[in-house]
């Protein structure tokens, strides 16, 4: 390994950086009474949420409950109408574009279907953030990328194009790309969507392992209850724009809350009704016969 | 595709594009004729006929400049034509200008006939001797008028 010493040095530098920032006890992400609306349609109505370093947090909820919006607010893609979103001590609503970009260099995000750049090879995809944001020599970038790919078990696929990967492999490459800059905060948007059980298990384990290895904070938006409860440290349940329940996986499993109970046990009917609101069937039949 | 092949193709493309431009400039358009410094002289005409801006200015059949502008003098009621002459050609100060037509129905141009003066034309000078355009309608009218005047005389 010709450049091993240099890589070791760069890792050591990064490690010291973590020691410095990790010593402060302040949370990585903090949301206080956050409200958000698309025009007239209110999506979030006063959300509080806190994520600390080293934590893997899941945000769960049904489709259209506002959990993806929540993730976008944390990533700075959307701005809250009211309340405060703080990431690494910085209030997102007060940041200029360049300051937001500076903050995003310390964030990684895994998109629902990976969002790999289709015109670049796997290696170039993972190297993309390194090449854009650092002046590291080409061979060091290459070695770093291979190490990241090795961590997700895909070092052998470095030369492939994204179109040649299976869904699960693409997700793992995207994961390697999301953590390429050793981020402080990693956001996962539906990391398990559309994966077979084996890939799902692998991806879940990787998310947990990477979070612990990086000492980062991770937020995962998902509706895959059983897998998530086995992985995460803390769960927030979102429904209709508010947090309806929160707790550790054990507390969630034992929860008596009807909504959580329905969700965890995947019951078809409960607080989340099976039927879309409609006039009673009887009135319809009567109207037809009359 | 590797970087070098891509660079090569783009290099060929750009070179071919510029080659086409050079071809258009040199072979198709008379690039050499219209470059270089020019100097302007003016001339007044009673009638310029169908003369247009950018029409050629020729001397002995050779293009020596272009018509730079056409105006109207409100006091003398004559047309004022600005000639942009190529800096490499010099003409005596008493050169005369006439508006001519190439062929029977061709475009109109200005012909310069060099005089014998010792001093040469300078930028801003005015040509004193001019000959207006031959207007075909006037010519025909004159011809018919003459014919009409002739006929009664021979009848007597």
């Amino acid at each position: 390994m010709r450049s091993f010493a240099r890589i070791a040095a760069s890792f050591a530098l990064r490690f010291f950086k973590y020691v410095n920032t990790a010593s402060s006890k302040e949370p990585v992400v903090q949301l206080e009474q956050v409200r958000f609306a698309y025009g007239e349609r209110e999506i979030l109505r006063g959300v509080d949420l806190t994520v600390h370093r080293g934590q893997l947090v899941a945000i769960m909820g049904g489709s259209g409950s506002g959990k993806t919006t929540l993730l976008r607010l944390i990533g700075g893609q959307l701005r809250a109408n009211a309340g405060r979103v703080t990431v690494a001590g910085q209030d997102l609503s007060r940041l200029s574009t360049s300051a937001l970009y500076a903050l995003r260099r310390r964030m990684g995000m895994l998109f629902q279907f990976g969002a790999l750049f289709t015109d670049m090879s796997v290696l170039d995809n993972v190297a993309f953030p390194l090449r854009e944001h650092t002046d590291l020599p080409a061979e060091i970038v290459r070695d770093l990328v291979l190490m990241k790919l090795h961590a997700v078990g895909l070092r052998g696929a470095a030369g492939l194009m994204p179109s040649e990967l299976s869904g699960g492999m693409a997700r793992r490459v995207a994961l390697a790309r999301a953590v390429a800059l050793d981020p402080l905060l990693v956001l996962y948007d539906e990391p398990f969507a559309g994966l077979d059980p084996i890939s799902l298990g692998v991806t879940g384990q990787l998310i947990r392992r990477l979070n612990d290895a990086l000492g980062a904070a991770s937020i995962m938006v998902t509706h895959d209850v059983q897998v998530s409860l086995g992985l995460v440290d803390y769960v927030y349940f979102v429904s209709d724009g508010v947090i309806v329940a929160r707790g550790t996986p054990d507390e969630i499993r034992a929860s008596a809350d009807p909504f959580v109970h329905q969700f965890v046990h995947a019951e078809p009917d409960g607080p989340v009704p099976f039927h879309y609101p409609a006039p009673p069937l009887a009135s319809l039949i009567e109207g037809a016969t009359a | 595709m590797s970087r070098t092949t891509l660079d090569l193709w783009v290099g060929i493309f750009v070179a071919a594009g510029f080659a086409a431009l050079v071809f258009l400039a040199v072979k198709v358009g008379s690039y050499s004729g219209s470059s270089g410094p020019t100097y302007a002289v003016s001339a007044e005409f009673d009638n310029i006929g169908g003369l247009k801006v950018r029409a050629p200015v020729k001397s002995a059949g050779v293009v020596v400049g272009r018509v730079g502008g056409i105006g109207f003098d409100e006091k003398t009621f004559r047309a004022v034509v600005r000639l942009d002459l190529d800096g490499q050609f010099e003409f005596p100060a008493d050169t005369s200008a006439s508006i001519l037509t190439s062929g029977l129905l061709g475009e109109q141009y200005i012909g310069l006939d060099a005089g014998g003066d010792e001093t040469n034309l300078k930028d801003g000078d005015k040509l004193q001797i001019t000959q207006s355009a031959v207007v075909l309608e006037k010519l025909i009218g004159q011809f018919l008028f003459n014919k009409a005047a002739e006929t009664p005389a021979t009848a007597k």
Binding site: G75, Q77, Y101, A102, R104, R105, M107, M109, F111, Q112, F113, A115, L116, F117, T118, F128, P129, E132, H133, R177, L187 | R3, L6, D7, W9, V10, I12, F13, V14, A16, G17, F18, A20, L21, F23, L24, A25, K27, V28, G29, S30, Y31, G33, S34, S35, K52, V53, R54, V63
Partner: protein
């Protein structure tokens, strides 16, 4: 009465929507220019796009240019020989190509070959969240994706138009001189005597440059602005081709009336 009111409301909505899009496109244009620095500092990005919009359009441009020139040779000869001035064939072919057909036809071909490809590419990147992913990696997608494609098109277009015109003149020469038998010397000398470099050649290049800016802007804008669905991308591609064609023809009229009014 109610239907009439509905019609008026529709016209109003269309107008407002049109103005809104125009405003958005102008702001987008400013943003593209503002973030263009990177496309020149990191030249490989732009060179790649010149390859995709320029080099890959070469074949269609050269073949079309040859055929357009050959048709001009045939038609021009037929018309000019009625007036006994078939020697002027070179002038006619060269002026038609340099002033009008070169920039306009090359622009239309460029819009349907390269413009649609750029719209499709950017639209698909948006649909598959690649642009968002880039934004989340603190890389501005306008600077990294849009601006190089814009400049690639702007640089390619005048070169393609010049090649189209040159190829067309060659086609006209092939038909006029080689096939029909117009005098070779007369063809070239008459041509170079009445084609003016600044007036005809440069104005043609200016036209093709303006068309290049317009087509490239429309292509990147429609791609960036498309609905992120398969249907949205296909509609954006159609809009790129249609509005490019309309804008080229309208701009051509405006530019021609400014450039060639004196003659």
């Amino acid at each position: 009465m109610n239907a009439f009111g509905e019609l008026l409301r529709k016209i109003g909505a269309l107008t407002i929507d049109g103005i809104w899009r125009l405003g958005f496109a102008s702001r987008f244009f400013v943003a593209v220019l503002r973030y263009s620095g990177q496309s020149f500092r990191r030249l490989p990005l732009t060179i790649r796009e010149i390859y995709f919009s320029g080099v890959l359009s070469l074949l269609i441009i050269l073949v079309s240019g040859l055929f357009v020139g050959m048709v001009l040779g045939l038609q021009g000869y037929d018309i000019l020989q009625r007036f006994g001035s078939s020697d002027a064939l070179g002038i006619m072919v060269a002026l038609s190509l340099l002033r009008e057909l070169g920039p306009v036809v090359a622009g239309l071909l460029f819009a349907s070959r390269a413009g649609s490809a750029v719209t499709a590419e950017i639209g698909l990147m948006k649909t598959t969240e690649q642009l968002q992913a880039m934004d989340m990696m603190a890389v501005n997608p306008v600077a990294r994706v849009v601006a190089p494609r814009f400049w690639g098109g702007v640089i390619s277009m005048p070169l393609l138009a010049a090649m189209f015109s040159a190829m067309g003149i060659f086609g006209g020469w092939l038909i006029g001189v080689v096939a029909i038998g117009v005098d070779d010397g007369a063809f070239w000398s008459q041509m170079s005597a009445s084609v003016d470099f600044r007036y005809d050649v440069v104005n043609g290049v200016v036209k093709s440059f303006v068309f290049g800016v317009a087509v490239s802007l429309i292509a990147v804008f429609e791609g960036y602005d498309c609905q992120p669905t398969a249907e949205g991308v296909s509609r954006a591609i159609t809009r790129t081709v249609v509005s490019s064609a309309l804008v080229i023809l309208a701009l051509d009229f405006v530019l021609t009336s400014f450039m060639f009014r004196g003659l």
